[in-house]
Subunit: 216 residues, 2 copies
């Protein structure tokens, strides 16, 4: 074992957070203490970023009317998604896909404006800014799980409408509506697996060697 | 505190992995035991994914000639990036931006082909597949740190050339060259901060309330 490895209990904590994190849509009452919310956001902010550009911006929603406007936008997109899903639309409509009005804290994560000035690591892959922000959100998710809080990443929205609602400048782009807060319990498996929406595939089907599709 | 919260030492492990994870470019000799590599990849594979689509594909590179061909592609892009950076190109060329030939294990992560069939959570934000794969890579990064192994995400490559080298089907898309393995030490801060490439900004400058730019 590496001399840089964490002690067993700390290492177990990392694997446990990874294994027990869930994309939550069911929240219960309660609040998130300010110091705890600050700790979670600092965890997000410690994410890696391409060229150290820190492209993430967090918007904490505290006004009820803004939260309700976001809920309306998500509901509109839920209906459009159901339509786009064709024959699976009815099944989709049975799923609970967000907990925006119930969760203790609502956050919107966006990519900053002015990203075109950042070339390092992005000349051929400009979308690496999104990858960095997703790492920040995963940090938040894992830290929240360790604290016993649920979190859900909702991507059912029209980014232009949400940008307008939150007065984002040209070039900024919302990527996530984050529901965060106490939950009665965590799902025992991904909710979409429990609900039969999709069957998760095992790792060995997605792992190749030296070229696409080749087994080891 | 939530009844679902982890015990202190496990919680500390999560925050420590988040805080001490680094985007490593310097590796030392040594190997990654097969069981350990499998554990890390399973951690990656437990990431959330939009609509449970699991868009990630991992290609482990074990053939030296493939590794060398990837190193050549990255070197070509490094030179093109330096040129694109203009007056910062010289400074960029002084940085160590990858450890492809030195690291114990080399992985390529790609988005699968056929993603257009997945509509859930992607009708207006098709790039959420990349976000999911980035969460998987962040899991790998944090688990590696807990195990005392370094990891670096290299995005200096031409995705079409890398896809061709690894015989990816149309629609699949490489997003990361991952260097993984033992390191002599972890950087005390992000390498690009230590090297003076960029000055990290504090969280409070990137956190707004209810609308863009608004303080709480």
């Amino acid at each position: 074992m590496s001399k840089h490895a964490f002690p067993d209990s700390q290492r177990a904590g990392v694997y446990r957070a990874i294994a027990e994190r869930r994309d939550m849509r069911h929240f219960c009452s309660g609040t998130v203490a300010p110091a705890l919310l600050a700790r979670l956001l600092e965890a997000a902010h410690q994410a890696p970023s391409v060229g150290l550009m820190q492209p993430w911006r967090f918007i904490r929603i505290t006004q009820r009317e803004v939260r309700e406007a976001i809920a309306e936008q998500v509901e509109a997109e839920r209906l459009l998604t159901a339509k786009a899903l064709g024959e699976r639309g009815d099944t989709f409509m049975q799923l609970k896909v967000e907990g925006i009005l119930e969760c203790a804290e609502l956050l919107v994560v966006a990519l900053m404006d002015g990203r075109e000035a950042h070339v390092f690591g992005r000349r051929t892959l400009p979308q690496m800014d999104l990858a960095s922000a997703a790492c920040a959100i995963q940090n938040l998710w894992l830290a929240a799980r360790a604290e016993g809080l649920g979190m859900g990443w909702v991507s059912l929205f029209d980014p232009q409408a949400l940008a307008a609602l939150l007065q984002m400048p040209v070039g900024a782009e919302p990527i996530a509506v984050i529901c965060l807060g106490p939950v009665a319990e965590f799902y025992s498996a991904p909710m979409l697996a429990l609900e039969g929406w999709a069957e998760p595939r095992p790792l060995d089907e997605l792992l190749y060697h030296n070229s696409w599709g080749a087994s080891g």
